[in-house]
């Protein structure tokens, strides 16, 4: 029984350690290194990137959510630090337009196919 408990804790803690580091990397990939040329934190080894990585790691250890971490960074460095622009009133069309284009494309395709089908029938 004791052996199972040890195994359980070993698996549990290894798992949580892995997921935490996966989460760190996911966040690093979404953050722009502001002093580098188009690199993410994950790709950069600059001083600035390493400092931010340390802060992000500390915040993850303090159980802060991704949203809280991104907010902390945006409050200090602006939206530019995020690779994905946040959904705001000023950026809403950036998110809507591709969707509109996609829907319109499907609509045109559907109309064309129906037209060809009707013609062939």
């Amino acid at each position: 029984m004791k052996l199972f408990t040890y195994i359980f804790f070993l698996i549990f803690f290894t798992q949580s350690a892995i997921s935490s580091s996966d989460r760190e990397i996911e966040i690093y990939k979404n953050i722009r290194c502001l002093v580098c040329q188009g690199q993410s934190l994950n790709d950069s080894n600059s001083d600035f990137a390493n400092d931010l990585k340390k802060i992000i790691k500390d915040k993850i250890d303090q159980n802060e959510t991704d949203k809280q971490i991104y907010k902390y960074l945006v409050d200090r460095f602006g939206d530019w630090i995020l690779f994905d622009p946040p959904v705001k009133i000023t950026t809403i069309f950036l998110w809507i337009i591709p969707l509109l284009v996609l829907i319109s494309g499907f609509y045109v395709l559907y109309k064309k196919v129906s037209f060809i089908k009707n013609r062939d029938d």
């Binding site: 502001l34 200090r76 460095f77 530019w80 509109l100």
Partner: protein, 173 residues
């Protein structure tokens, strides 16, 4: 009627496109270093460069005037360029300057000050750069002008030059 509806939809989509690009092209989507301006200075606490037991904390409470926070390091070449401007501000007693010594060795920092003069009222050590990140700093040198309510009124990334020196004077007069 059906055709009219189609044209209306197309016109609407086109209008949204034009509107989006019109506003998007007009906004600055590059890195904005002024994000912290008009915001309250985040709370930080540093160990004094001169006395290890002494803590220096920001924002300054009950400070009736503007003050400057300058992030510097002895290894930073542009810091040497801006130093005469800091000395000028300090010598003319225009504004109190607080230094944040960034990722530096104590000995090198003290030698730097001995060599070029010390314009700082107090100096705190940021040995790992974490406190500077808290202020929204990218590196060294960086300068913040803070008002008596603890609001950042001016932020400058890079060495202080003639223009920036004048801007600081204009703000504090």
């Amino acid at each position: 009627m059906k055709n009219q509806f189609k044209i209306l939809i197309l016109a609407l989509v086109f209008f949204i496109f034009v509107l989006t690009f019109y506003f998007a092209l007009g906004t600055n989507n590059k890195n904005n270093t002024q994000v912290m301006v008009s915001k309250k200075l985040p709370r930080i606490e540093l160990t004094s460069l001169y006395e290890e037991e002494k803590k220096i904390s920001f924002p300054k409470i009950n400070f009736k005037n503007y003050y400057i926070i300058n992030i510097w390091a002895s290894w930073c070449v542009p810091c040497r360029d801006e130093h005469p401007f800091l000395m000028k501000l300090a010598n003319e007693n225009k504004v109190k300057i607080f230094g944040i010594n960034y990722k530096d060795s104590k000995m090198n920092a003290l030698t730097f000050l001995k060599e070029l003069g010390n314009p700082f009222y107090e100096i705190g050590i940021d040995s790992n750069g974490q406190n500077s990140i808290e202020l929204g700093a990218y590196g060294v040198p960086e300068t913040y002008l803070i008002d008596n309510n603890g609001i950042i009124v001016l932020k400058h990334v890079g060495p202080i030059n003639k223009d920036m020196y004048q801007k600081i004077l204009d703000k504090i007069k």
